[in-house]
Amino acid sequence: MEKGFDFNKIGKRMPYQVPDGFFDQLEENVWQEVKKEPVFDKGKRIRRIRMAWGSLAALAATVALLLLIRPVWIPAQADNFSAVEEAFSHLCLEDQDYLFEIYQEDVFLNE
């Protein structure tokens, strides 16, 4: 190790300086910024919790609604089909044959 320079001569002394009252002002500047953060703003924190619970409740209500209305849709489809069958049976034989001829090759109906 090269000797000559002794760290103890300078120690922790630095040429850097700060303006008077700088650290108090720094703390105040930071406070002005961070006091808006949720960790400090109780009202904001409560609003966030309420919003989270509100979203959860809305999700739960949507799921419940879907579960409730699903059985209504299934019979409705069945009702629609029987209504068509009934209407078809009221047609004369020529019309029934005509409809059969037209739609029996229909790719969309026979998918």
């Binding site: 040429p15 850097y16 930071v30």
Partner: protein, 179 residues
């Protein structure tokens, strides 16, 4: 000196009290840590303010098993590197990317250029690669242990120790040659 765990608990229970305790313990240390890296007072002020704002923004995401002090210093170091990168239009720098600062100190109202010895020591430190500067400063000025330095510099304690000794040797050489 207030223990870090008391500050953490205070931030959870009474955020304003916790804020005051945190600032009382760390504001000067963090400012000087950043100042040594960026040199200019105005830049150090901006980076220090941003550091403390980030500490509070990300407080809830902090891992309980990590050292609170190392976590704070790491945020401060990242802010300093981000600022150095933005001044060079390079964006956020990693410690490996960051090259040595130019060794002269920038013209700054808040530097005592008449203190020739300490100006020269800062020039010597600033001539080092950024990782060596960081490790040297954290050990020499902040008196942190190698484990904490390793956490801040994202390296092993052995690597931190090696970097410190290399930095010290280079500084001695610089000071001897430039006498």
């Amino acid at each position: 000196m207030v223990e870090d765990k008391e500050i953490i608990q205070a931030i959870r229970d009474n955020p304003e009290k916790g804020f005051r305790m945190l600032m009382a313990k760390y504001k000067e240390a963090i400012y000087w840590h950043i100042r040594r890296l960026v040199a200019s007072h105005d830049d150090a002020q901006d980076a220090t303010q941003e550091t403390f704002v980030r500490i509070f923004r990300s407080f809830s995401q902090r891992r309980d098993d990590s050292s609170f002090k190392a976590w704070i210093y790491r945020i401060a170091t990242n802010e300093a590197l981000r600022l150095i990168g933005s001044l060079r239009n390079e964006g956020q720098l990693s410690l490996e990317q960051a090259e040595a600062n130019i060794s002269r100190l920038p013209a700054d109202e808040y530097v005592d250029y008449s203190d020739l010895e300490s100006v020269k020591l800062q020039r010597a430190i600033r001539s080092l690669p950024t990782k060596q500067q960081l490790v040297f400063n954290l050990r020499y000025y902040d008196e942190l242990g190698y484990e904490e330095i390793a956490e801040i510099a994202a390296c092993t304690a052995q690597s931190a120790k090696a970097n410190y000794h290399i930095a010290k040797e280079k500084i001695i050489q610089y000071m001897n040659v430039n006498e």
